[in-house]
Amino acid sequence: MSRDRIRVLLISLLVGALFLAVWQASVARQPKGKGLPGPAAVAQTAWEMLRHPFYDNGPNDKGIGLQLGASLGRLAAGYVAASVVAVMLGVTFGLSPTLYRAVNPYIQVLKPVSPLAWMPLFLYALKDSGQSAILVIFMSSLWPTLANTAFGVASIKRDYLHVAAILQLSWWRRLVTVILPAAAPAIVAGLRISIGSAWVAIVAAEMLIGGTGIGYFVWNEWNNLALTSVIFAILAIGLIGVLLDAGLGRLSRRLAWSE
């Protein structure tokens, strides 16, 4: 390991230790059972939860693994569907600047809307809270991928398209061998932003719909005043977010190319 990396690691550990120490000190003098729980209490809850992550004692008492699994399942359904739609639309818009300019005002208006604002409409239309949550994830992960794909496809060098034209590639081969690989770095950058915002949105969506999921878990534990569980859930959500991002980071390195 280089000196620089050792230094980074040391500072990083120091910051973590300092945070835990200040946290512990600030809760040490409060009367027992009142105020925020300290790191030791959270660690104990974490240990218990991780020992039995998949137990199921009915609707209001499930292991953290089951809750996270439910959230990841929704995430996968909404995110994959949104990504497919976003890439298809993005390629279409990227290849047709006129069409893109024509629909762009609508996209600009829809983009800043919190995906949760759609929830009442989805609930009314679908009469199913699970599907509505998936649609909220769909809305939250649509725009970044759409915008990045359109940009990536629109900025493909004309030379590559010229070669494709001379070789008289069919539209499918042109898409698969030229357009998608050329725009892949931009598309994956969009997918990476999208999965982040989807993971952010799912917690709030699940707080609204209830039933299962890490968001519902957080809200349920708050109602039980089990703050150690809430804090542990926050950590778990953060860690899963890091893993999701790292996975797409690997994909982005695999698809990267330079001229």
């Binding site: 030379d159 590559y160 010229h162 070669v163 001379i166 070789l167 008289q168 061998t177 001229e259």
Partner: protein
């Protein structure tokens, strides 16, 4: 009827100020025989690359047309392969995949094995054996253009269009690749239309050289024949009286064209 006919082609571009049009070249007409190597030489801005793109079908002429074997060509096609000045290799593909893309396009009915063997043959031909799995970013300019040549030759097009193919290659490598192109052309005797501003390159490679006046409103001034026996050797050519005469003739044309341009500008 000629094999490839450039039939009174004129090209206008929209003027930079948005009003009217600028004529790049006017009424360019000549013919290329089958198996002939014809080079067009002229200063930057005479529209020679635009004319090449028109023959390739990548741009449309404002007037006139291009006729290949009696048929007008208006769209890009595999019968006219281009070797680009900036190589235009797909940077996400390896050397092998870049050539294979073209071979597959030319022979969609071939088996995987037949395609692989054919690609390998052309990769070997341009001396890139061992570099098959490298991406263009890992190659020098000279090696990249070898891939460009392999890609173009591997489809056995009716016409090869070379757009200043050696302009972005360092001077020492350039000669080697020119020799390689000459060797490949001797073996295949493709019909070639090349565009360049390098006089020595034009004489070394061509059967005939078309001289363009300077743009805008460039015109085809004359076509000179290169009466030098093949195979031509660079070292021997330098002392050949015909080579010296031809070189002086073309250089004088280019310098006087430039001077007239300067006079017009002044």
């Amino acid at each position: 009827m000629a094999f490839l006919e450039i039939d009174h082609v004129t090209k206008h571009f929209p003027a930079p100020d948005g009003r009217g049009a600028v004529c790049v070249f006017r009424d360019v007409a000549f013919a290329i025989e089958e198996g002939e190597f014809l080079t067009m030489i002229g200063h930057s801005g005479c529209g020679k690359s635009t004319l090449l793109n028109i023959i390739a079908g990548l741009e449309r002429p404002s007037e006139g047309g291009v006729v290949l074997e009696g048929r007008e060509v208006a769209r890009p096609g595999m019968d006219r392969m281009v070797v680009f000045q900036n190589f235009s290799l797909m940077p996400w593909m390896t050397v092998f995949e870049n050539v294979r893309l073209a071979v597959r396009a030319a022979h969609p009915d071939w088996s995987r094995r037949a395609v692989t063997a054919w690609v390998q043959r052309y990769v070997d031909m341009v001396g890139l054996t061992g570099a098959e799995d490298k991406r263009p970013a890992a190659l020098s300019g000279g090696m990249r253009q070898r891939v460009g040549l392999a890609r173009a030759f591997s489809t056995e097009p009716k016409v090869l269009l070379l757009d200043e193919p050696f302009a972005q290659i360092d001077a020492l490598t350039r000669g080697v690749i020119q020799d390689e192109l000459m060797r490949m052309w001797n073996a295949t005797r493709n019909t070639v239309f090349m565009v360049t501003h390098d006089v020595d390159e034009a004489i070394l490679l061509s059967d005939r050289i078309a001289l363009m006046t300077s743009g805008p409103e460039a015109r085809l001034a004359e076509i000179v024949e290169v009466k030098l026996a093949r195979p031509r050797l660079r070292a021997e050519l330098l002392d050949d009286p015909e080579y010296v005469r031809l070189r002086a003739h073309i250089l004088r044309f280019l310098v006087e064209g430039a001077r007239r341009e300067a006079a017009l500008a002044g």
